[in-house]
């Protein structure tokens, strides 16, 4: 018997587990696999563009949040309110600090970072080690690796140059390819390079090739490859050897920055006594009235294991995470069989439509306590709290709020579930 069972191991699930553990609850995290953090940037975007059709990043985030309460009351931020947002961000910063992988920034202010395509993009929190002000660097060197096909320094540099030029900022932006002489057997991704760079000899090779290209004023922008677990050592060594500054950019999946966040959080949670059972999905739930009394997991034997708790957090993800199943005839949440409102038109002709895609906006309707609700707003379940991408009311991809909603709703769900268990 647990106090809280969290279903899902993405950012929402892990934050819910952390929040409940903080209340000294006995917590179990069950998920069918590792969460989608391994495919995400590892930055926390709170709200980059609002309304979503604006060209420029959102300046006054606090005001936008207030507007949202009126304009878009189903948005998870609007449902939870500013106070919960504040608490969740503070809590995240606190536990990441404890976990040894600190973040910095604030949800109230968008900071600008380059993406792997060289676009300048707004975000709220970045790992401490990546915390810097682009404006203060006059000289930028974008670096790629020949063995890696997931990053193109000249392309990124060209876009950066173009955008800075349009903003009237003059910077010296160069690009370079390095070749670390690693595997000839296959293409490497950022994870592979990050593993390789944990080896001192490889690090040394990188430093040697960069030495002639940088000075102490140079900002070296490179894909996120500076170590997985030994990241502090890898970046520290390079900065000592070259005296320049490094900025890692999140790359296509597998994302090293996302992985570091996921694994440092999970390790922290394990130390706090949170249990994990990953690899097999929750296949259903036991219910008495509006109360969930247990969840079912089908293990390798095909027998069903029932796990029980006082409260449950449903953070199984949206369509990508598999929390919502899309079939030709409709969309359902399959653990509690929650029907999802079906839209007439699920998609816009334009992939880049600024209003986003209805498909990504679908999800479970919840009340301010994150309990799933029915058509009349009545709670369907009283001790189940939903969080993350399975919630309706937002399209994270256009408003750039993915990890932000996961973080805020995950924390809130964890607190609510934990308190419910008192």
């Amino acid at each position: 018997m647990y106090d809280v069972i969290v279903m899902g191991a993405g950012l929402a699930g892990l934050m819910a587990a952390a929040a409940a553990a903080e209340l000294n609850k006995k917590v179990l995290v069950v998920a069918k696999g590792r969460g989608n953090l391994y495919s995400a940037s590892g930055y926390i975007d709170f709200l980059g563009y609002y309304p979503t059709d604006c060209r420029q990043p959102l300046e006054n985030v606090v005001e936008a949040l207030e507007d949202m309460v009126n304009d878009n009351p189903q948005h998870p931020y609007a449902l939870l309110g500013k106070e919960k947002v504040d608490q969740a961000f503070d809590f995240f910063l606190k536990i990441m600090n404890r976990a040894g992988y600190s973040y910095s920034g604030s949800w109230k202010k968008n900071r600008i970072y380059p993406t792997a395509a060289g676009a300048l993009a707004p975000t709220s929190l970045v790992p401490q080690r990546s915390c810097l002000d682009l404006a203060s660097y006059q000289e930028i060197l974008v670096v790629g690796f020949r063995e890696m096909l997931d990053f193109y320094p000249f392309y990124a540099a060209d876009n950066l140059r173009e955008q800075f030029y349009q903003q009237g900022e003059k910077k010296l932006i160069r690009a370079a390819w390095l070749d670390l002489g690693l595997s000839k057997e296959r293409e490497l991704n950022s994870y592979d390079l990050a593993v390789a760079l944990e080896d001192e000899a490889v690090r040394f090779r990188l430093a040697e090739q960069l030495r002639v290209k940088v000075s102490e004023n140079t900002l070296v922008i490179l894909p996120a490859v500076l170590g997985i677990r030994k990241w502090a050592r890898v970046q520290g060594d390079l900065e000592r050897m070259l005296a320049c500054t490094f900025l890692e950019i999140p790359t296509l999946p597998p994302s090293v920055t996302g992985m570091r966040l996921a694994e440092s959080l999970m390790e922290y949670l394990e130390q706090r006594g949170v249990e994990f059972q990953l690899g097999y999905p929750v296949t259903g739930a036991l219910q008495e009235g509006k109360k969930c009394t247990g969840i079912k997991i089908e293990t390798a034997s095909g027998r069903v294991q029932v796990k029980r708790a006082q409260s449950y957090v449903l953070a199984t993800g949206g369509i990508l995470g598999g929390g919502l199943k899309v079939k030709p005839g409709g969309i359902t949440e399959e653990i509690f069989q929650i029907k999802i409102e079906m839209l007439q038109e699920m998609s816009n002709q334009d992939f880049f439509a600024p209003q986003g895609q209805p498909l990504s906006r679908t999800g479970i309707r919840v009340n301010g306590l994150l309990q799933p609700v029915g058509a009349q707003g009545e709670p369907l379940l009283t001790n189940v709290f939903a969080a993350g991408k399975n919630l309706t009311g937002y399209d994270p991809f256009v408003e750039k709020s993915g990890n932000g909603v996961a973080l805020v709703s995950g924390c809130a769900a964890g607190w609510l579930a934990g308190k419910g268990a008192l």
């Binding site: 395509a117 676009a119 880049f352």
Partner: protein, 505 residues
């Protein structure tokens, strides 16, 4: 005053490229113009089936006979563009047993080789099939790649001195009295215009032939007929599958390398450009296909697309849709309309493209006083040389495409889109539908071709949009998930929507 050619061919589909090869082999100087890229029309938007003739044996024996002959020829000359899979015709319990008898007799008449195999043996070969198959016959169907077929024909012609210009639109005809003496052309991307002179124009614009005819002042009754096809993530069967019944919707499965194409439908449309499949089309196809493969709905769909059949009606009495003939027609406008220097070749199907090209070329040669015979059935097509190489670093991992292949695919191209590359290499045709490789390819070409940031962004955005178009009608299951990861990458991770890509918005 512009360049001079013997013949200008309009349309870069199988027929047009077939003609330019044929005429070039006869020593005539030719220019082929295509408003987009080669095989972007119907030649690249069909099921990819090289007919054995069996499908048309009952209703259209003449057409079937042509298929029998061309099937044999293409297996010889275009081996690089096709996979000789063989095909099955299968009858289910609900299918009319009488039709089987009629069909077998018709196949015998037109010369399609059939070989009966027992349902139990069939199930061993193709375990996904429905258990209630009553009869099954093996026929010499094959899978053909329309993209590389057109490209290989074009390359063969270019090697003999012909010119092939893509992204070139015909905007008008030069005339002297009742004679066409040349064409006015416009680059579809830059807008630059120029003219060329020629002794003869051949209209091989497929579904667009009517529009070209109009531009020349002649009336061609082309009835665009839309056929929807869907693509499954993996190869479901080893061989082509046909339903043994009168041709209808949703009765052909064609294994295409690593994927399976399933179709088709037949709906009249007014617009040759109407190549958008809808969700309803897809669901209707699935309902039909499930009768042959019960688990079909559990298999991942990766996209849906539509092609427009350029059905030709000489008079209003002929049938439409499935009833219309699949035969082709060669129109000598000198005889029909009193317009010299202009012929059209319309109707037909990809399997018989070479025969169509031969007929058109024979007429053209005769008009131009060239007495060389057609040799296209004897010589193999040129090799495109873009096969999988030994490089173990794959830029597109789903289909194992290396940088070297991308480099070869773009050789000699002034203007190109990633779609053009995709058609030649299969870049982005796998399960991820470009989620990972579109960005990589754009980054790669940006550097290789010295593109500006804007051009690189355009390349990238256009291809993301193009893949999106195909995914929209199949947004459920795995592809709904793939689209979410795709949006996550291109919008959240890369913030591509805020990057400048010039005219593409």
């Amino acid at each position: 005053m512009g360049d001079n050619y013997d013949v200008v061919i309009i349309g870069g589909g199988a027929t047009g490229t077939g003609i330019v090869r044929d005429l070039a082999m006869r020593g005539l100087s030719c220019l082929l113009v295509e408003k987009e890229d080669l095989a972007t029309g119907t030649s690249g938007r069909f099921h990819g089936l090289l007919h054995s003739g069996a499908r048309y044996a009952v209703r259209d024996p003449h057409s079937a006979q042509e298929c029998v002959q061309e099937n044999r020829i293409l297996k010889e000359i275009a081996a690089n563009c096709l996979e000789d899979t063989g095909g099955y015709f299968i009858a289910l319990k609900e299918d009319d047993p009488e039709y089987i008898r009629v069909w077998l007799e018709a196949c015998r008449q037109v010369g399609v080789a059939t070989e009966e195999i027992s349902p139990s043996e069939l199930l061993k070969q193709e375990p996904v099939l429905h258990k209630d198959v009553t009869k099954a016959y093996l026929v010499p169907d094959a899978a053909v790649d329309g993209f590389t077929l057109a490209a290989a024909n074009a390359l063969s012609a270019e090697k003999l001195g012909a010119k092939v210009k893509n992204y070139t639109r015909v905007v008008g005809f030069k005339r002297e009295g009742q004679r066409i003496t040349g064409v006015f052309l416009r680059n579809a991307i830059t807008g630059q215009e120029w003219e060329v002179n020629c002794r003869l124009v051949i209209n091989a614009a497929g579904a667009w032939a009517g529009q070209i005819g109009e531009l020349a002042g002649v009336n061609l009754n082309i009835i665009p007929d839309k056929g929807v096809l869907i693509v499954f993530n993996h190869r479901i069967t080893g061989k082509v599958l046909n339903r043994l019944r009168p041709p209808g919707d949703g009765d052909i499965f064609v294994p295409h390398g690593s994927v399976t194409i399933f179709g088709t439908t037949s709906r009249a449309t007014h617009d040759p450009q109407d190549n958008q499949a809808t969700r309803e089309d897809v669901l209707q196809l699935l309902a039909e296909g499930r009768k042959m493969i019960p688990d079909l709905e559990e298999m991942r769909l990766i996209r849906a697309f539509a092609g427009v059949r350029p059905l030709y009606q000489a008079s209003d009495q002929e049938g439409t849709g499935r009833q219309a003939t699949r035969d082709f027609s060669l129109l000598d406008h000198e005889k029909l309309d009193g317009l010299n220097g202009f012929i059209s070749v319309v109707g037909g199907k990809l399997t018989t493209y070479r025969l169509m090209a031969q007929a058109a070329s024979d007429l053209a040669a005769q008009k131009l006083g060239n007495d060389k015979p057609c040799l296209t059935h004897l010589e193999p097509l040129a090799n495109l040389g873009i096969e999988r190489d030994k490089d173990k670093k794959h830029l597109c991992q789903c289909e194992m495409i290396s940088k070297g292949m991308l480099e070869k695919a773009v050789k000699g191209k002034e203007q190109f889109s990633l779609s053009d590359i995709r058609r030649l290499t299969r870049l982005g045709m796998g399960p991820c539908q470009g989620t990972f490789c579109t960005y990589r390819a754009a980054g790669f070409y940006h550097e290789l071709k010295n593109l500006t940031a804007q051009e690189g962004n355009k390349l990238l955005k256009e291809h993301v949009q193009e893949r999106w178009k195909g995914a929209r009608p199949v947004l459920w299951g795995g592809q709904a998930q793939e689209i979410e990861i795709n949006r996550g990458i291109y919008l959240s991770l890369l913030n591509l929507d805020r990057l400048d890509s010039g005219d593409y918005v």
